[in-house]
Assembly symmetry: C2
Homo-oligomer: 124 residues x 2
DNA sequence: TAACTATTTAGTTAAATGCCTAAATATGCA
DNA sequence: TGCATATTTAGGCATTTAACTAAATAGTTA
């Protein structure tokens, strides 16, 4: 289960346009590392990408993107795995599933509380 | 549907410990406005509360809490309705439901993409 | 109208954030 | 070993954020 600190970290991470867009790119995929595109022998998930490839899609410097990625990783919404001199980045679907679950629980609890509150109320 | 700007606003609003706790208090209820506690004739939803009542539960000044509430309202996660000289605050369940839906969609899309990717892969 | 209650606005300050460039580190390859 | 590639660290700067106090606004009540 995600504790409060972790949830806040996730919200903070996604509450910035650049990081939100990086997050979107990592999740929806659509491109892989430049080198891998040239070398069809490299086998990675269609969602895997690397720092410099992501940076290519933004007008910010590489260190800036690197720092944003670090924050997304610390929020556990992506994973970063070093292979050779590159870092492969993938979405962490488990965290997103859990967060979605939290919202569902919140909504469900709210609905039942409301049901309890109006238990004895009969509409004409 | 929530657009990107709106989602980012929600994440930014919830990505701060004080606002997250206010949000939690507003959603889980448990207390109503001080005056209303003294006057059982006032009829409000068990979730309704007001600015000063929320502020009582924090070590920050009233203006600070007021500003946080404004940000939560602009993110559409709570509603603030003026009745007399008080403002009644309630959770906006619709926004939370929509956000939860976004996460579910993201997870579902990811799952089907993964299924497609491994379509022809047979595990021994 | 005057005093009281509830809330927001204004102005200030310290800390955090988001960006940059330059330099450092780590790995790969000739 | 030395050069190239990939990424992070360090340091600096401008903007934003989160807090405060004091004052203003809006509505209630005596």
């Amino acid at each position: 289960m995600l504790d409060m600190k972790q949830k806040i970290k996730i919200f903070k991470a996604l509450g910035n346009e650049t990081r939100f867009l990086i997050f979107k790119n990592v999740f929806t995929g659509g491109y892989t590392c430049s080198l891998d595109k040239k070398d069809p022998n490299v086998k990675v998930s269609p969602h895997a990408t690397c720092v410099s490839t992501i940076a290519e899609h933004f007008d910010f410097s590489l260190p800036t993107i690197s720092k944003h990625l670090k924050e997304l990783r610390e929020a556990d919404v992506i994973t970063m795995e070093k292979k050779g001199n590159k870092i492969y980045i993938e979405p962490n679907i488990e965290t997103i599933r859990e967060l979605g679950g939290c919202f569902s629980t919140l909504v469900d609890n709210f609905e039942s509380n409301r049901a309890l509150f109006f238990e004895d109320v009969v509409v004409s």
